[in-house]
């Protein structure tokens, strides 16, 4: 009897579990939290004051019949003996394992970072931290808001840009953009890792009144002085700051340890998404080392590929991304795949509306992924980086 175990009820884990259930499989889904957070929502909570309840749902409401939801924290995985250990001592066996535990955020890697996030919040560590950021932003009358990153590898590459756009928009509406500077400090050579995207984003940032520093990787933070120091030897003063933390693989002991890379991400075959050396274990989404962006879209598409493969189909993940960059009333997408670097995608109101539709369909697409699959497939085919290489 097949026993499929899915670890983690984030985007990838929920899509995989619900999709398998829709095909009649019995699935056990292990999740430590009662609540699922739509992670991009943290940007809207932190910088536009949206209510956290808009972006959270109880996990139990997001699983289909056929999925057994187990509340528990995964402590260890033994791939050789096909065992999963929970922190409370329970042990689960499996015939097929899907690791969808996400990335863990390391607030200890940068001195002063823990203190910064505890005081001001941020837009990465949860809805509460995002609400804390908002409570400080709304009080910020003059000074400088700094959005920065401690490492070039983090979830949702355009997140700091979106943060800056949304914050600038809010401050403009409050009539404070003259007295509060929005400063985006990025650990890249250009305004975005891809120069093609940087050329499209840079003028929009300027238009929005956002100042940008490049080649600024946060090395330490002095919260009392209000100063951030960079690895490259620069420093910048702030009145309020949000620094994207260092990301690492899931905090789970995995046997054998060789399947993890030096940052703790699970090494996978980038196309088949099975854990290197194992054909009965997969890793999807942020937890894997697949060389693509860490985003909800890649987790969702990865889950579809893994479910196809469990069903005996030869589906392959192509590393497709579709990261939205939201500016005032407009949006662009970072569209790329393993074989195609990001294509030039200009900002438009239509793309902003598409992003609204994606957000509106989010909860439904987690629970009923098979209903949305043909619609998403049509969109991804129509906007395949190969066919829109000249731009969209």
């Amino acid at each position: 009897m097949e026993k499929i175990l899915v670890l983690g009820a984030g985007t990838g884990g929920l899509v995989a579990a619900n999709l398998l259930a829709s095909h009649g499989y019995k699935v056990t889904l292990i999740e430590r939290s009662d609540t699922h957070l739509f992670q991009p929502g943290m940007l809207w909570i932190a910088f536009q004051g949206h209510s956290p309840s808009r972006y959270t749902r109880p996990v139990k409401d997001l699983v289909r019949p056929g999925v057994e939801l187990v509340k528990g924290s995964v402590a260890g995985i033994d791939l050789g003996d096909r065992l999963v250990y929970l922190a409370d001592g329970r042990i689960f066996t499996y015939t097929t394992l899907i690791i969808a535990l996400g990335a863990q955020l390391d607030y200890e890697a940068v001195p002063g970072h823990r203190e910064l996030v505890e005081r001001y919040g941020d837009f990465y560590s949860g809805a509460q931290a995002a609400a804390r950021m908002w409570s400080h932003l709304r009080e910020l009358v003059r000074g400088r808001l700094v959005i920065a990153a401690a490492d070039p590898l983090y979830k949702c590459p355009p997140a700091p840009h979106k943060a800056a756009f949304l914050a600038a928009h809010t401050l403009r509406r409050m009539g404070r953009l003259d007295s509060v500077e929005v400063h985006l400090a990025l650990p890249f050579l250009h305004e975005y890792p891809s120069e093609v995207v940087a050329r499209i984003v840079a003028p929009k940032l300027e238009e929005a009144g956002v100042n940008v520093s490049t080649l600024f990787t946060v090395e330490s933070i002095d919260v009392d002085k209000g100063r951030i120091y960079s690895l490259e030897g620069e420093e910048i003063d702030f009145s309020l700051a949000a620094v994207i933390p260092v990301h690492r693989g899931p905090s789970v002991k995995v046997e054998p340890g060789e399947v993890l890379d030096e940052d703790g991400f699970v090494k996978v075959d980038r196309y088949k998404l099975n854990v290197e050396g194992y054909d009965d274990a997969y890793a999807i989404g942020d937890a894997s080392n697949a060389p693509t962006s860490k985003t909800g879209v890649t987790a969702h598409l990865g889950a579809e590929v893994v479910v196809d493969r469990i069903m005996g189909l030869d589906s392959r993940f192509n590393g497709r991304t579709n990261c939205p960059i939201v500016a005032n009333g407009e949006a662009s997408f970072v569209i790329s795949s393993y074989d195609y670097p990001p294509v030039p995608v200009k900002f438009s109101r239509f793309k902003r509306m598409l992003e609204d539709l994606f957000i509106a369909s989010y909860w439904s697409s987690l629970k009923y992924p098979e209903r949305w699959a043909p619609i998403f497939r049509a969109y991804f085919n129509a906007t395949d980086p190969r066919v829109i290489s000249g731009g969209w």
Binding site: R377, I388, W392
Partner: protein, 122 residues
């Protein structure tokens, strides 16, 4: 906090006049849709294969680009429509070359060439 009985919550909801009003409207809408036959069409459409075919027909590279540029297209169409409604005098061939000194005409020509190039790509 003790979890509330769902049945109890439903009974409480039913007593809310706003819920009643909303429900009345919903029932009226469903009845109207049913009477017109639209409900049958919607039910038949809610089929994976129909949705798949419809999505792949409506969402193509062409329609995505068209929708993305709909503002530029309607703006141009609006200008053209307005120009069509204004009276014009025939331009004799000898004066045609003078028209080409007009920067708007030159920009229009550049646009026409760009359109020709785009047509050549298809």
């Amino acid at each position: 906090m003790q979890a509330r009985d769902p049945l109890e919550m439903l009974i409480e909801e039913l007593g809310d006049p706003e819920f009643q009003e909303a429900l009345d409207k919903l029932v009226a809408l469903v009845k109207a849709l049913n009477k017109s036959g639209l409900l049958d069409v919607l039910l038949a459409m809610a089929d994976e294969e129909v949705v798949s075919r419809l999505s792949s027909m409506l969402m193509t590279t062409g329609t995505m680009k068209l929708a993305d540029n709909i503002e530029a297209l309607t703006r141009a169409a609006g200008e053209v429509a307005q120009a069509l409604s204004e009276p014009v005098e025939p331009v004799p061939p000898s004066e045609l070359v003078y028209s080409l000194r007009d920067p708007e005409v030159l920009r229009g020509l550049a646009r026409l060439l760009a359109v020709l190039r785009a047509l050549g790509r298809t």
